[in-house]
């Protein structure tokens, strides 16, 4: 939500800036524009008509659907704002934290050394509970025994992180078959 909030704030401030420029132009009657030429009456009439329709309960089905969707969108945004942001650091327990980069570097260091793995890409996510969620995508040669390599990769990474004292709450291993000519390592 932090990025969403920033985008909304940027759009809002840009809109306010443009409106401010318009206000100055119209207020000082610059470039032939004047406040009297603005269609205020048409806008207020439309608003009044909409309010009357709401009071009489005479809104069209399309308007009702749009209003319902707006309420739903508002509710979803409100719930998303209340949701606490995901932590930026990996909790190791007992007042010790580390960054995701440390976990990623440690996993990358051993993942590429597992027999059969030609290359790997690692991403670690911090979670509210102790330990990181680690996603590894390894590349293997076509026709290799993917099951064995996956198990080898999983156990090697788990052992290495356990030696380092880095807790892992979830370890996802995905292997993709690739042409060795396009990978970092051609032979393992």
């Amino acid at each position: 939500m932090r990025i969403f909030n920033r985008v909304v704030m940027m759009l809002l401030l840009a809109g306010l800036f443009v409106l401010g420029v318009y206000m100055v132009v119209y207020a000082f009657e610059l470039f032939g524009y004047s406040l009297s030429s603005l269609p205020f009456s048409g806008f207020s009439n439309g608003l009044q008509g909409f309010a009357n329709d709401v009071e009489r309960g005479g809104l069209s089905v399309t308007t009702l659907i749009i209003l319902f969707l707006l309420v739903l969108l508002g509710l979803l945004l409100l719930i998303a704002e209340f949701k606490p942001p995901s932590p930026s650091r990996v909790r190791m327990g007992n007042g010790t934290y580390t960054t995701r980069r440390v976990v990623e570097d440690e996993v990358s260091a051993v993942a590429d050394e597992v027999p059969g793995v030609l290359g790997s890409s690692v991403s670690a996510k911090a979670q509210r509970r102790p330990g990181a969620q680690v996603d590894i995508e390894g590349t293997v040669r076509r026709g290799e025994d993917v099951g064995t390599i996956r198990e080898g990769l999983r156990s090697t990474v788990q052992e290495h992180l356990s030696r380092r004292g880095l807790p892992v709450s979830k370890l996802n291993v995905k292997l993709v078959e690739a042409d060795p000519r396009q990978t970092k390592t051609r032979v393992q």
Binding site: M92, G95, T98, T99, L166
Partner: protein
């Protein structure tokens, strides 16, 4: 019991003297430091009830990260005055004497 910048200084010295610590961290999104007057101690944030120590660990790690953190906490405890000490490992750096 030290206070403010003195505690930050003591914590920094204690952390750097711990085996497995390469250097003090600087914070990732916000600078981790304690200021007083013109002096600045990087890698330590002293709060009224807590103390945050940011370090860069030495590679290869001589022992597990929680052990390093525990050693730092033990060294800092006499000066911390009962503050809750948090250790943040920001990075792992290859030491200059390691030919890796």
């Amino acid at each position: 019991m030290a206070d403010g910048i003195q505690l930050a200084r003591a914590a920094s010295v204690a952390a750097l003297a711990t085996e497995g610590v390469h250097s003090m961290g600087r914070g990732r999104f916000v600078e981790a430091a304690t200021y007083e007057g013109r002096e600045k101690v990087s890698g330590v944030i002293v709060g009224p009830e807590d103390l945050e120590i940011h370090i860069v660990a030495r590679y290869p790690l001589p022992r597990p990260i929680p052990d390093i953190a525990e050693s730092i906490r033990e060294r800092v405890a006499p000066e911390a005055g009962g503050r809750k000490t948090t250790v943040v490992v920001e990075d792992v750096e290859v030491a200059a004497d390691e030919n890796l």
